[in-house]
């Protein structure tokens, strides 16, 4: 009997379908890899298994019996545990308190046995030994630890619960090779104990090093489950890409030879020494796995993320982005796909949302409403913005129209360089098509665009060139006929320097 079966799992977030009939069968004593591109639904599936997220439909069968979990506490009680990618540590508490949170050893009087707590934590830490690095002891505060140390503490926390089913969601992301090796020793031991492990990783090499079987997910469903011994890396990547692997970029703007933006050795946020050139009238895509520094790149150029070192030139002149206002005055514009966090003022009228950049850039004291309306109305028309009244709150608009408002606001300032940070996140196809049309128009007017998108098809369909980032570095550049989905996936999923091959 399988340890766990998930069948026909469906989940929607608003208008976005995250899972559409996902299936997973987990045997006892196996390491089962779950793999797929950004937003394929693997994290959502795991959160449903652990009760952190409720499914809209489908069933979970644990040891042959249907179960439903109201929350993580239920799943933990049933022996299911998860390593959370975003970690579930309490920064202000100590390493020992974090590892045993909710299951602290008690004395006979029912009080927390602090000595035992410390001793158990010390034993757990010792298993990782010197790989954990300096400064990790049971009494250290988690807030004082580095990213890899925190990740190992989260691993120890999960291991300490002795669950029968453990999900590791990107548990190796911040770890070095040695640390990964120790984790794999643990996984091997758990497997021989008859425990079951779901292992999620973007590093295909790791999947092939540890997994017994692999399930590939795409668009909220699963496309393939195979024994790892009977499948090749190329077959796995091809399954992730799907049948559309032959799509080839048709985008061909006519960039002019002179550079609009030159970046040399930029260090900021997750970025480590990025150099590139964006020509006038060109669209360059930023590809790669989610969170490899693409957003940091755009936000550093816009003066939001502080720059540690490196130089930026705009139109041949050195530029130091001190803040968004300085960037706007240099004709840069930034649009984030995180509309609700960084873009839309939901309760304010659409009009105010539209003219914000003009007000800020030109330091208006008195709002000349009619003049502002005259400035923005052609942009509204070009973007095909649909609204009942400019006085209506922006929250009345659909996601796609809200995004158009944010873009219209930026276009009103007539930028020469547009920084788009996953701008089509969660918007409908019609609005996407409108946006692509506008991007083409802008390019024809010599505006240059840097586009980060989590949707690889989008990158391929609109970009003249795509630079692929991994761990904050550019690892590949695809231009011309190289712009295929398969090439993009290979570059994104291969490790380190191997990607450029």
């Amino acid at each position: 009997m399988p340890s766990l079966v998930a069948r026909g799992i469906r989940k929607r977030y608003g208008g976005v379908v995250a899972l559409d009939g996902a299936e997973l069968t987990l045997e006892r004593g196996e390491v089962h890899a779950l793999i797929g591109s950004n937003g394929c639904g693997k994290s959502t599936l795991c959160k449903i298994i652990t009760g952190a997220v409720g499914a809209d439909a489908g069933e979970l069968i644990l040891d042959g019996r249907a179960v439903s979990f109201a929350g993580p506490a239920d799943a933990v009680a049933a022996g299911i545990d998860m390593f959370y990618q975003e970690l579930s540590l309490i920064p202000a508490m100590t390493v020992a308190e974090n590892i045993y949170l909710g299951r602290e050893p008690l004395t006979r009087l029912g009080l927390v046995d602090r000595a035992a707590l410390r001793a158990q934590a010390a034993a757990a830490i010792a298993e990782f030994g010197e790989a954990l690095g300096l400064g990790v002891d049971p009494d250290a505060a988690v807030s004082d630890l580095s990213a890899d140390q925190r990740q190992i503490i989260e691993i120890l926390k999960v291991l300490a619960r002795q669950a029968r089913i453990i999900i590791f969601d990107e548990a190796t992301a911040a770890l070095d090779r040695h640390q990964v090796g120790i984790l794999f020793e643990h996984l091997t031991r758990l497997r021989s104990d008859g425990r079951s492990i779901i292992f999620i990783s973007h590093r295909i090499d790791e999947v092939f090093a540890i997994a017994d079987r692999v399930t590939v997910m795409r668009n909220g469903g699963n496309v393939m489950t195979r024994r790892i011994a009977e499948v090749t890396r190329d077959e796995v990547v091809t399954a992730m890409v799907g049948d559309t692997q032959l799509t080839r970029s048709e985008a061909h703007h006519r960039p002019r030879p002179e550079p609009a933006l030159r970046v040399e050795g930029l260090d900021a946020g997750k970025l480590a020494g990025v150099s590139m050139t964006l020509r006038r009238g060109e669209i360059v895509g930023l590809g790669g796995l989610h969170g490899q520094g693409q957003s940091d790149f755009l936000r550093a150029l816009y003066g939001v993320v502080p720059i540690r070192s490196g130089t930026i030139e705009i139109g041949g002149k050195a530029f130091d982005p001190k803040g968004p206002l300085a960037a706007m005055r240099q004709s840069l514009a930034y649009v984030s796909g995180e509309r609700t966090r960084f873009g839309i003022m939901a309760i304010r009228p659409i009009f105010e949302n539209l003219v914000l950049t003009l007000l800020v850039r030109d330091r208006h004291v008195v709002v000349a409403r009619r003049r502002l309306e005259a400035t923005i109305s052609p942009i509204i028309a070009r973007l095909a913005l649909k609204f009942s009244s400019l006085a209506a709150p922006a929250s009345d608009l659909s996601g796609g129209n809200q995004q158009k408002v944010v873009i219209a606001r930026m276009l009103a300032a007539r930028p020469t360089i547009l920084l788009l940070d996953d701008p089509t996140k969660g918007i409908d196809l019609g609005a996407k098509a409108d946006l692509y049309g506008i991007m083409d128009d802008l390019c024809a007017q010599d505006v240059s665009i840097l586009l980060y998108s989590t949707d690889d098809k989008e990158l391929l369909s609109v970009c003249d060139r795509i630079v692929v980032l991994n761990g904050g570095r550019i690892v590949a550049e695809l231009a011309g006929d190289e712009r295929t989905e398969l090439a993009l996936y290979r570059a994104a999923y291969a490790s380190g320097t191997d990607a450029s091959a």
């Binding site: 579930s88 927390v112 505060a141 890899d148 490790s495």
Partner: protein, 332 residues
């Protein structure tokens, strides 16, 4: 595509940080409050040399005790990253309920105390149900329940008055085994707080306040923990209201009005973060003493009445600024 056999790392190893002194702020957040308290006590002694005599110390303690108890209760709610803007009203409600019962039942002290504690626990449970289970905003919910509790207090006893038997307030003001009764109450409250600090609940409480989402994912019963914090706050507010019965020997429906913000100030002075997760009951006790001593210093320095509020506010701001400076130093 080349297929490397070994596992390789895409990102360079992040720089390791050596252990930093930041933890002392988490483990002993009350140190600053203790320092401020020593300075204030020294000032007090300079202004009023018999400050350290048994009688004066006991009467000071007696005056500070009600706010101290309310601040202890507030600490648990703040540790869970919530807030209790109703605890002053609970103090008043408990105060008038106890006095009315003791007075009306011809001196049934036990019943009055029990009723007072029951009212405090119930009021805390009401707050907790709304905030933890119905997910109302803590700040406005407890403001609203506070208004309601104040209204109830006025209904129970419209005007200050009532009487309790002399045996009640003489034993409150007296001593037992050469230690003032008020000191025994504080010792008992501290022992209770020390016991709570050794429970699993206390770990869960700091986890909920430190990162509610992470605590939920770890399987901590978040709602139950937040409810319990409000019930504890109600319990200590009740103790505070009963201490005021001993202190004033009568009931007053408005007596706790100033306690809400004073207790929050005491909690913050004691090093507990309003964002939750970091803090201690000991710090809040010290914070309440600091507020009491500030009043003392102003009184003994014979500051003109019109200036007292301004001076008091300035000293509190000064005491708070120490914590702000330390927090900036440790990088967050």
């Amino acid at each position: 595509m080349p297929a490397p056999d070994a596992i390789s790392t895409p990102s360079p190893e992040p720089p390791r940080r050596s252990p930093q002194p930041g933890l002392s702020r988490y483990r002993r957040p009350y140190l600053l409050a203790a320092a401020v308290l020593i300075v204030l006590a020294a000032t007090n002694v300079a202004l009023e040399p018999n400050f350290l005599t048994f009688g004066v110390a006991a009467s000071n303690l007696s005056a500070f005790l009600p706010l101290t108890l309310a601040a202890i209760g507030q600490t648990y709610v703040v540790l869970a990253s919530d807030i209790d803007l109703s605890n002053g009203a609970i103090v008043s409600l408990v105060n008038v309920t106890a006095v009315t019962i003791i007075d009306g039942m011809h001196g049934s002290i036990g019943l009055g105390l029990a009723a007072g504690l029951g009212v405090g626990l119930a009021a805390g449970a009401v707050n907790g149900m709304f905030v933890a289970y119905l997910r109302y905003q803590a700040i406005v919910t407890t403001f609203a329940t506070g208004v309601a509790f104040s209204g109830l207090a006025l209904w129970v006893l419209p005007q200050a008055g009532g009487q309790v038997p002399a045996s009640f307030y003489t034993s409150y003001a007296g001593s037992y085994l050469f230690v003032p009764t008020v000191a025994w109450i504080l010792i008992a409250a501290s022992a209770f707080a020390a016991l709570i600090a050794r429970l699993r609940f206390y770990h869960s409480l700091r986890a909920v306040g430190g990162n509610m989402q992470a605590a939920f994912q770890t399987g901590v019963a978040v709602a139950r923990v937040r409810l319990a914090a409000y019930v504890i706050s109600g319990f200590f507010a009740a103790l505070s209201g009963l201490a005021l019965v001993g202190e004033t020997a009568s009931g007053d429906p408005l007596i706790g009005g100033g306690f809400t913000l004073s207790s929050i100030t005491a909690v913050v002075l004691g090093g507990t973060a309003l964002s939750g997760g970091v803090g201690s009951v000991l710090g809040s006790v010290l914070g309440a003493f600091i507020l009491g001593l500030i009043s003392n210093v102003i009184f003994f320095a014979q500051a003109p009445f019109a200036w007292q509020g301004l001076i008091q506010g300035a000293i509190i701001l000064l005491a708070l600024s120490g914590g702000v400076v330390i927090a900036r130093r440790s990088g967050d």
